[in-house]
């Protein structure tokens, strides 16, 4: 049954109003049938692609709109002025000093024994299992759009040689994980270069590939993380490569576990099956 909002829209309005739901696969049967029927008209297939780019460009423009340090400070002092915060910090320091002296005098030997026992079990149960401190799906889809907009400007290390790309990641200081060597994804992909995206809490290695024939790009990301950090998605299997698939307006995204605590992510505009094949050939199991 179609929803009332959709009923009151022209075909053109309906197309633009529901294109995200269409791509997510969340339309009702009747709405999907209507969308399928309008997709073949007015050049809508191309408009779908063009809108993804336009939205990416708007997202880029909005990166210029952000709260600066001065405004951030004005917000913080809404709740606690500078003097009160200084007092809090000073009293915390004083309290810590008092407690640490007493602890040393009373608990030294007992603590040592307790820590050895608790540390092993505590690390297993309570220790950091992953660093889900950034949304890989949001951030890296955005990064992919930015890299398409500025294919040379965003690459730290432009190269057409896979050997050099592998060497670049192997030698990169303090990456935080071991990047798996990347081979050719084959098909019509040519390596274009590498970059390491440095967020405050995470570094991500990215290899960029391009296709002259189809004029599109492919990005292979590697970073610390676990599959549990990602929302549930129907799993796929390409010759033993177990992956999860996601879609944005313009990209398909595959995510899989490269090794313990290291995630591989491939982002491109081709079908999921093609991306899985590229991932398998480039990074393997």
């Amino acid at each position: 049954m179609s929803n009332n909002s959709a009923t009151n829209l022209s075909d053109d309005q309906f197309f633009f109003a529901y294109l995200s739901e269409y791509q997510d696969g969340s339309l009702s049967e009747s709405d999907k049938a209507r969308f399928d029927s309008v997709m073949g008209t007015n050049g809508n297939e191309q408009r779908l692609v063009d809108y993804g780019l336009a939205r990416g460009q708007l997202q880029l423009e909005f990166q210029k709109v952000f709260v600066d340090d001065e405004l951030t400070h004005q917000l913080h002092v809404l709740l606690e002025d500078d003097a009160a915060r200084a007092n809090h910090e000073a009293s915390d320091i004083e309290e810590f000093a008092r407690v640490s002296v007493a602890a040393r005098l009373i608990r030294g030997g007992l603590i040592a024994l307790a820590v050895i026992g608790l540390g092993i079990g505590g690390y297993y149960w309570l220790g950091p299992k992953s660093k889900p401190k950034f949304s890989a799906l949001d951030s890296l889809v955005y990064e992919s759009a930015v890299m398409i907009e500025d294919p040379e400007g965003r690459l730290d290390f432009p190269t057409n040689e896979l050997d050099e790309l592998r060497d670049y990641f192997a030698r990169y200081p303090n990456l935080g994980f071991s990047a798996k060597p990347i081979k050719s994804p084959e098909s019509d992909w040519q390596v274009e270069g590498a970059a390491v995206i440095d967020y405050e809490v995470q570094k991500i290695a990215v290899a960029q590939f391009g296709s002259l024939a189809q004029k599109d790009k492919l990005f292979i990301y590697q970073f610390e993380g676990r599959l549990e950090d990602f929302p549930y998605s129907q799993p796929g299997n390409y010759q033993g490569l177990l992956y999860q698939t996601y879609a944005s307006d313009y990209f398909n995204v595959l995510v899989w576990e490269l090794e313990d605590n290291v995630i591989g992510m491939i982002v491109g505009s081709r079908k999921a099956e093609e991306l899985a094949q590229a991932a398998f050939k480039a990074v393997g199991l």
Binding site: L9, Q13, E61, V65, L71, Q74, L79, E80
Partner: protein
Amino acid sequence: MGASARSTEDPGAVAFFVSNLCSEADLVYRFGYTVLLNEEQAKKLVIATFARVTKLINEFLNLESQDIRFKLLSLAWENLLEFTDKSNPEKPGLVASLQKLSEDCRLVLVTVDILGMSPRETERILKMKPVEVRRYLADGRQQLLLSMK
């Protein structure tokens, strides 16, 4: 629309406010800028919104991230309705594409496609009917596409 600081004896509330709520200030700023197209006015909106938040912290404490964003934008929209002067858009402005869209279209388009609210959440934030949101979203996307060609 002034905002005054007040000290609190609850360090937990302060920590929550700073790390969980103030970290979403960009969201409110972008929302305000979308309507006002003026940086200074958008900053005033952010301060006014978070000043209200300081009085409502308990309502935010157990919310998930998306619900926090929803509530912040709802408060921001209520504040925006009280803004008497929306007549000073900057030109060309930080986001040139917005200038070419009508106010309702850019508001719904940005709320859904940039700020990550669902159409249903957008209906509730902006107090619009479902068909209105869809129509403005459709028209906004179409206008954006045309403006970028």
